[in-house]
Symmetry: C2
Subunit: 184 residues, 2 copies
Amino acid sequence: MSSTKDQITVLADELMRGKGYNAFSYSDISKPLGIKNAAVHYHFPTKPDLAREIVAYHSDSFTRFTERVEGKEALSKIKFFLNFYTSIQLSGRICVIGAFATDWNAMTEEIQQDMQGFTNTVIEWLTSTLKEGESNGSIKLSDTADSEALSILTNIFAATQLSRITGSDHFAAIKQNILNRITH
Amino acid sequence: MSSTKDQITVLADELMRGKGYNAFSYSDISKPLGIKNAAVHYHFPTKPDLAREIVAYHSDSFTRFTERVEGKEALSKIKFFLNFYTSIQLSGRICVIGAFATDWNAMTEEIQQDMQGFTNTVIEWLTSTLKEGESNGSIKLSDTADSEALSILTNIFAATQLSRITGSDHFAAIKQNILNRITH
DNA sequence: GTCTATATTCCGATAGAC
DNA sequence: GTCTATCGGAATATAGAC
């Protein structure tokens, strides 16, 4: 049993990554939840408030993810990360980073700052995990860990976008290409 | 001297890749051009008509691009392709593929089909150009040409998105990483 | 915390004059 | 081909009762 506020957050996130920020409305949230427009505004007075909550939701989720895989072997961690994107692709949605990037110039400065913090956290985790794997020999790096992290991140989040247009086979091919690149 | 219709198309494309499909309005187009709302509707009765024109505009542009580089050496062609994205990044805009992918579920079937055709054309050009470079020895492939094409495309179009959030240094790093991967 | 009711603004779109 | 004028609808947001 989750609170109305939590239900709004989850649904808003799905709409954000499903249709885009400017394509969903308060009524897209209130109707499925069986509540009224005003009730959503009670929890999130403005739409930017809702957007910030979505970012906070992903920040928390990513923190829990890193804690869950902490202690596992580095290559295994990367595979868990990539498998998370597979579930995004299967749901027909896209990564939150790409969703906010596209609507970037329609976002308030506060949202932008929150997203910068979140995105850098993801990049830093990827970078340190790649270094970790190179140290123990499970991962092969042909460039700096930071560059490889950026390459992997853009590959996988754009794969959720591209596969909407050209189909899920392309998502699978991109994911496999990443793994081929970083394994011996 | 370009026609009003052409000016509308160019501006609509910039808005589409600058703010997103649902974030720009007919008045965002009419005001800068010094015309009225109704004049834009005369040329493009509905907003989906405008979206289709944007796709057609990019299809034509890409065809002209491939003709311009035809005859050049394969690696050089890829570099021209990547440099085109540098100009997108510098303008603060994103690649049309990512822009439409994010708003995919807000698009009509006709727009989606047009985008599928355009995107596959880009992928096919990249694939055949990579094969060409492998044959003449200028390009190194560690995976199938098709997979490498998908990897490069997602890297570079997502780089225009990511760099909005984390800065242009990341765009440069991703671009360089692509070149490192495919050269000896 | 949710409701009814409403204010306000903006959007996409059309009719008809010039 | 562009204009004025306007329609119908939807969106974000708020006031005040319960």
